[in-house]
């Protein structure tokens, strides 16, 4: 099952289905046959174009992070809220006490989408912005010293790692081989 899902055909089907759902959500017309037919046609066309452009892989159909990512997002929302308060306080305080830092953390994620998720999470939490991502390093600009908490950020990274490996334990080994080569 999993094997099928991460094959091209599986991804194609998953993507088409997901696009059809998006179509329905956008359209809101369930009773117009022409629109439904167009919806199916459009979803298939888009999925085919994705395949044709050569980007039908784990990034465009991120199955490997699928169930776990929602819990992660929930957690992330809270984090975003917390760090927002810190930045907001800085903005409103009459005398700003900024002490910007450049720090660097390791991104241990295997897949590209994992790394991107990690870097984006860092950027999404105000106070830290990932400035550069290269190989396994993420360069971060942090607004204050408190926010430049490497261990907290790497904790986030571990969470992303865990999300990544929930569905495909085999992905890890595969990717490691790839990384080693």
């Amino acid at each position: 099952m999993v094997k099928f899902l991460i094959s091209i055909a599986g991804r194609f089907i998953v993507l088409s289905l997901a696009l059809m759902v998006i179509w329905l959500l956008l359209s809101g017309y369930f009773d117009k046959t022409t629109l439904l037919v167009f919806g199916v046609f459009s979803a298939l066309l888009c999925a085919w174009l994705t395949l044709h452009m050569g980007i039908l892989d784990d990034d465009s159909v991120p199955l490997s992070v699928m169930p776990g990512i929602f819990f992660y997002w929930l957690w992330l929302f809270i984090e975003i809220g917390k760090s927002n308060f810190i930045v907001a306080m800085q903005v409103w305080s009459p005398k700003m006490s900024l002490s910007p830092q450049m720090i660097r953390v390791k991104a241990h994620q295997i897949s590209d989408s994992g790394k991107a998720t990690y870097a984006n999470s860092i950027t999404l939490t105000p106070g830290t912005v990932s400035v550069d991502l290269l190989g396994e390093d993420i360069l971060i600009h942090a607004l204050t010293e408190d926010l430049a908490d490497v261990s907290a950020i790497e904790d986030m990274g571990r969470k992303v790692c865990r999300v990544e490996s929930t569905m495909h334990p085999n992905l890890k080994t595969k990717a490691k081989e790839g990384g080693g080569a």
């Binding site: 993507l15 696009l19 998006i22 179509w23 956008l26 359209s27 017309y29 629109l35 167009f38 919806g39 459009s42 979803a43 066309l45 888009c46 999925a47 174009l49 994705t50 044709h52 452009m53 050569g54 980007i55 892989d57 990034d59 465009s60 991120p62 590209d112 989408s113 790394k115 991107a116 870097a119 984006n120 990932s130 991502l133 290269l134």
Partner: protein
């Protein structure tokens, strides 16, 4: 391995939904805002985004510039020939009623508008891509330092 991983990942992720959004706008022009013109632009913008992320060479490999004139011609001709079809079926130029003369739901109009809007969409998409390819696919010529 290519650089700018974050960008590439997000572009990959958003490529198909943007295309779908374009088609949604195309086919829902009858019901909400939008239509062929906007749809063509949105559809092209997905490819432009791809080109920004993956390089114009890579994009041109997948969507060669040589096919774009065909799309352009197809779009414009689809529009014009829908009109000519009206001409041949006994109506005036661009008369859609004659496309389905016995309908009570103005089906001829619907078919006509659908065809015409599709022509607009294809033509606009390919025209935008052509313009983008020719502008972006060129080396900068003046290397002046004064930004």
């Amino acid at each position: 391995m290519m650089g700018h991983l974050i960008l590439r990942v997000v572009i990959k992720l958003l490529f198909a939904p943007i295309l779908l959004f374009g088609l949604y706008v195309q086919f829902h022009g009858d019901y909400g805002p939008g239509g062929g013109f906007q749809a063509g632009v949105i559809f092209a913008s997905a490819f432009i985004l791809f080109a920004l992320g993956f390089g114009i060479k890579e994009t041109q490999k997948r969507l060669p510039p040589t096919v774009l004139p065909f799309f352009m011609v197809f779009g414009l001709l689809l529009y014009a020939l829908t009109g000519v079809l009206g001409l041949f079926m006994g109506g005036n130029f661009l008369d859609y009623y004659v496309l389905a003369p016995d309908s009570h739901h103005n089906a001829g109009q619907h078919i006509g508008i659908l065809l015409v809007e599709f022509g607009v969409g294809v033509a606009v998409f390919s025209a935008m891509m052509t313009i983008f390819y020719f502008f972006a696919g060129r080396e900068p010529e003046i290397h002046d330092a004064d930004w």
